[in-house]
Symmetry: C2
Amino acid sequence: MTIQLYCFGESGNSYKAALPLELARMDWEPVYVDFFNGEARGEAFRRINPMGEAPVLVAGNLTLSQSGAIQDWITEQTGQFGGTTPEEKREILRWQFWDNHKGSSQFGMTRFQVNFLPEKHRNADVIAFLQGRCRAALATLDAVLTDRDWLASDRMTMADLSCCAYLYYPEPFGFSRDDFPAISRWLDRISETPGWKHPYDLMPGSPADRA
Amino acid sequence: MTIQLYCFGESGNSYKAALPLELARMDWEPVYVDFFNGEARGEAFRRINPMGEAPVLVAGNLTLSQSGAIQDWITEQTGQFGGTTPEEKREILRWQFWDNHKGSSQFGMTRFQVNFLPEKHRNADVIAFLQGRCRAALATLDAVLTDRDWLASDRMTMADLSCCAYLYYPEPFGFSRDDFPAISRWLDRISETPGWKHPYDLMPGSPADRA
């Protein structure tokens, strides 16, 4: 049974699911969601996921959305990128929540406003506000990574595979590796993992397709 | 051993931890964080929680932040408000992530901008943007609650105790019960639970203190 992941290349949230599926060598394939033409918010897609978002994972009878819940399922299935003690498990979960609350949620929103929203709808005040939120989150991440290699353990876990997701994209949204050296080194550690792929190489869809 | 919860009344994120501690009748006490004078972002508090946020739970040797992770710990300790099957557990986790990503994260930010940010720093465009995000999240929640009583099970779980947290406050931020009847009925179901308390009755600190 091949796992299907409804996703698209520009979605860091999708990447949080696609990357561990790939690194854990699960039998999976991407199913393209045409987000930029509104597919994720349409009626047909809402029948798959009432939250109207990507990613959605379909594995036999299981249909699952929210990247954090999908990551938890991948760990349950493969034993990979999870914690080995209750403390580690809690620490991974804590960072996944932080990422959804303060990290990727802000990075993704800002990335969309700066790069993908039609220019006439962009608002400089909104972008400045969101970039301020991003900088605060990035500063927290950089400070924590200054004296450790991985967020929640002595090896790479879902905590890392969650928090990194929007930070490999080339389109600018207010994050520069030069400003956050500890984050930059950590991103290198993750991307040096055998089997790692860039989001645009792992999932269909990229700005180049719409150029 | 009395559990300590670093929190403050205006914080819906703190309420997500305080309410289940109270409903599960755990031995706990609130420790006031003077958020509005910057305590949560100060050096002393960052030694307790490098993420610089409330709530933080301290139970013996355990120091834990992020309300979702604290909720998970409360379930682990008491068996309450969790799932009884793998499917239910996943569904609870999925809603907790949704709430952190799309729900409370937006409600809390908007509530702060509209009510607590000094007026000279408020920006109408930013508030309009955030209120649009809130409406989208509330519409998703209302649609789902139209044909079920609880989000993730046939009884109240941490999914409900996470998503409801910012919706009991009297200060306006763009949510009105009249506009979302299914949410309104669900909030009543939660507040009819024996032992339920309003955030301002459960935790120290409220706008009245600063009036």
